[in-house]
């Protein structure tokens, strides 16, 4: 039990899977210089080099490393989800937006964008905060009040961070229920062992059937 509780070590630590996946999100960039024989990265041309001025959607980790250093190889534009148009949608009614479709790591990726010091940095920061504030109440209500109701419709709108928050809320609710019926003192098989046993039984039954 002790070893597997999610220690809240730095979320963007080197080994965190979420951080790696979040930094894979695409960022629109335009190349200022030509890049020799890396043409294969740009599907639209058959040219061996990347011609200066081409517009490409680069993953964030690539854009970040190219942006560093004295010579500006590329300049980065704000991804469409964080642009003015979308920001108005978020401020209008954050609860309606399906953040999962817009990229499951909306907040994490938003946080990374700020480190790029884009021109509309502050607007992005404030929109992240306001969207979360707007959605938080519904997430908490959903996780606290529904026991065995089908929640997939609400959960499907949430992004990864919100889902973690939602499941933490539900876990809290379930633990409280268990405590109330004295179930919490029940020593139970560890979840890993139980799942492992279920899989084994499934494998045996599928083999025999």
């Amino acid at each position: 039990m002790a070893a597997n509780f999610t220690l809240d070590s730095n979320p963007d630590s080197y080994f965190s899977l979420d951080d790696i996946l979040a930094s894979q999100e695409k960022v629109p960039c335009t190349f200022n210089t030509q890049v020799s024989n890396m043409g294969y990265m740009d599907q639209s041309t058959t040219d061996t080099n990347i011609v200066s001025g081409t517009k490409l959607e680069l993953p964030f980790w690539l854009a970040k490393s190219l942006d560093r250093g004295s010579r500006s190889i590329i300049n980065i534009d704000t991804p469409k989800n964080y642009k003015e148009v979308y920001r108005q949608i978020f401020t209008a009614d954050p609860n309606v937006v399906d953040l999962h479709k817009l990229g499951p790591y909306f907040y994490l990726f938003g946080g990374k964008l700020i480190s790029l010091h884009l021109p509309d940095n502050d607007d992005i920061a404030s929109v992240l905060l306001k969207t979360f504030q707007g959605r938080f109440r519904r997430i908490m209500d959903g996780s606290q009040n529904t026991l065995n109701v089908d929640l997939t419709s609400q959960v499907s709108l949430l992004d990864e961070q919100e889902r973690l928050l939602f499941s933490a809320g539900q876990q809290g609710l379930h633990d409280f229920q268990k405590w109330e019926t004295r179930e919490s003192e029940k020593l139970s098989t560890s979840t890993m062992v139980a799942n492992h046993r279920k899989r084994k039984r499934f494998v045996l039954s599928s083999k025999s059937s």
């Binding site: 002790a2 070893a3 509780f5």
Partner: protein, 225 residues
């Protein structure tokens, strides 16, 4: 879990190191529980309370000897055995939490220990330190064998700072104030918020980021709940 009834007949007062006044077992247990809760809720590894752990382990041994002398059907056996189980649970849970932190923040913890080498309250007990070192190079050797060896040398050197997993000092914690402490810097100066200083009175309870009160937790002025 009051242990006063255990206090008198079975336990003699615990003779602790010279500089601390002699503490009775229930007080030691109380302090250990506090250390346990602090360790449980703080994102960072706290200095080890090995004297408390050692003392309570001796307590358990003493109680077990006392119990073995009692007649088989004696009612007190089950009461004291329950007591022992609960004390052992607190100790093992405390050490488990510390172990989990050592395992996930290994490099960071080792660097911290380096800094505290000369200072008095050391971060890890010798056993934990040995475990941490052993664990750290077992992970590194594994990573090198499976991946880094097969990479061109220049790319293979893992840069320690980047790899080190750091505790999230900004995570929020619940805390209870034990001693009045004035002008605690709660929020640093930021572009849109000015510096915030607060006074803690005894018995207050707050929710706040861990970083500003990290030192207070170590000194015992504040305890996490």
């Amino acid at each position: 879990m009051s242990t006063e009834d255990v206090g008198d007949d079975l336990l003699e007062t615990v003779d602790d190191e010279e500089e601390e006044e002699a503490m009775t077992a229930p007080e030691v247990l109380h302090k250990l529980e506090e250390a346990w809760l602090n360790e449980k809720f703080s994102p960072d590894l706290l200095p080890v309370k090995s004297n408390l752990v050692e003392c309570m382990l001796d307590q358990i041994v003493a109680m077990e000897n006392n119990i073995s002398t009692l007649k088989k059907g004696d009612f007190r056996i089950s009461v004291h055995r329950m007591e022992i189980d609960r004390i052992r649970y607190v100790i093992s849970s405390y050490l488990r939490h510390r172990l989990a932190k050592i395992e996930s923040l290994t490099t960071h913890v080792l660097q911290e220990e380096e800094k505290r080498r000369d200072s008095e309250n050391v971060l890890m007990s010798p056993a934990e330190l040995e475990f941490a070192k052993g664990y750290c190079n077992s992970v590194m050797t594994h990573l090198t064998n499976t991946a880094l060896d097969h990479m061109p040398l220049k790319a293979a050197t893992p840069n320690a700072k980047e790899i080190a997993v750091l505790p999230n000092l900004d995570s929020y914690v619940f805390l209870k104030v034990n001693e009045n402490t004035e002008n605690v810097l709660v929020e640093e100066e930021t572009v849109d918020a000015r510096e915030e200083i607060m006074d803690f009175e005894k018995g207050d309870q707050h929710i706040m980021r861990y970083k500003p009160i990290a030192s207070l937790v170590e000194s015992g002025a504040v305890s996490l709940i």
